[in-house]
């Protein structure tokens, strides 16, 4: 996703890469009450390992993105986020999922200046005792 910050002659274009959006979304989703954990899945784990290795080369502590996929389109401009997670059985699943959607949309907008057109939440598991046992 790009944002132009100046007239054409002195163009400054900012591109936010999908891992940045995914990291912000993962952080926001994990903090919503009722979310037990994000579920990376096999594909997510493979991507995560690659990213962690690359981050270590950079000397950085990687911001986790497991369980989140971010999609960035340039023409037309669009950002979409997909999140896989497990919820606590002590909370209403639909309400928690909506809270995740709101929290992620707000966090991504505040952190990157980009507003996701869609935040899709997939509930892959529910911890019957709220993840306490």
């Amino acid at each position: 996703m790009t944002r132009e910050q100046a007239p054409a002659r002195q163009l400054v274009e900012t591109v936010i890469a999908p891992p940045v959006i995914a990291a912000v979304a993962a952080h926001a989703a994990a903090r919503v009450p009722g979310v037990v954990r994000l579920e990376p899945g096999l594909r997510g784990l493979a991507g995560s390992l690659t990213r962690i290795a690359r981050q270590r080369i950079k000397g950085l502590e990687p911001a986790p993105t497991e369980g989140v996929r971010a999609f960035v389109e340039h023409d037309p401009p669009d950002v979409r986020v997909e999140i896989d997670l497990s919820l606590s059985g002590l909370d209403q699943a639909a309400a928690t999922a909506q809270a995740v959607q709101r929290a992620v949309g707000k966090a991504v907008t505040e952190a990157t200046g980009l507003t996701p057109s869609a935040v899709s939440v997939s509930i892959l598991d529910i911890e019957i005792r709220g993840g306490l046992l």
């Binding site: 910050q5 163009l11 591109v15 936010i16 080369i57 502590e61 200046g113």
Partner: protein, 101 residues
């Protein structure tokens, strides 16, 4: 030193003075410190019409950081053959510490 390498060095020097962003390259590992050249140059691509700099965000929100960086880096291009080139800032990743309140 060519005009491109001089410009790259100037851009990186300016980038290092901007808090919250760093070049997206292996510059802080022990192995990198043993290499006798500046690996941060890998974060800069200069073509005829586009100057691209890849960065990692160490803070959020990102837009104020890129706005400051864009203005500072744009100023570096002034008076060079790339004065009218597009400046592209690519935020490739974010440090975990940036998301801790």
């Amino acid at each position: 030193m060519t005009a491109r390498s001089e410009l790259t060095a100037s851009l990186l020097s300016t980038l290092r003075e901007i808090p919250g962003l760093r070049a997206a390259t292996p510059s802080t590992t022990a192995a990198a410190s043993a290499v006798p050249w500046d690996l941060d140059v890998m974060a800069v691509d200069i073509s005829e019409n586009v100057v691209e700099i890849r960065v990692v965000a160490l803070e959020v929100p990102i837009p104020p950081l890129t706005e400051v960086a864009g203005a500072a880096l744009r100023a570096v291009l002034t008076g060079t053959p790339w004065e009218n080139a597009s400046l592209r800032l690519v935020v490739t990743d974010v440090d975990a510490a940036a998301l801790v309140p």
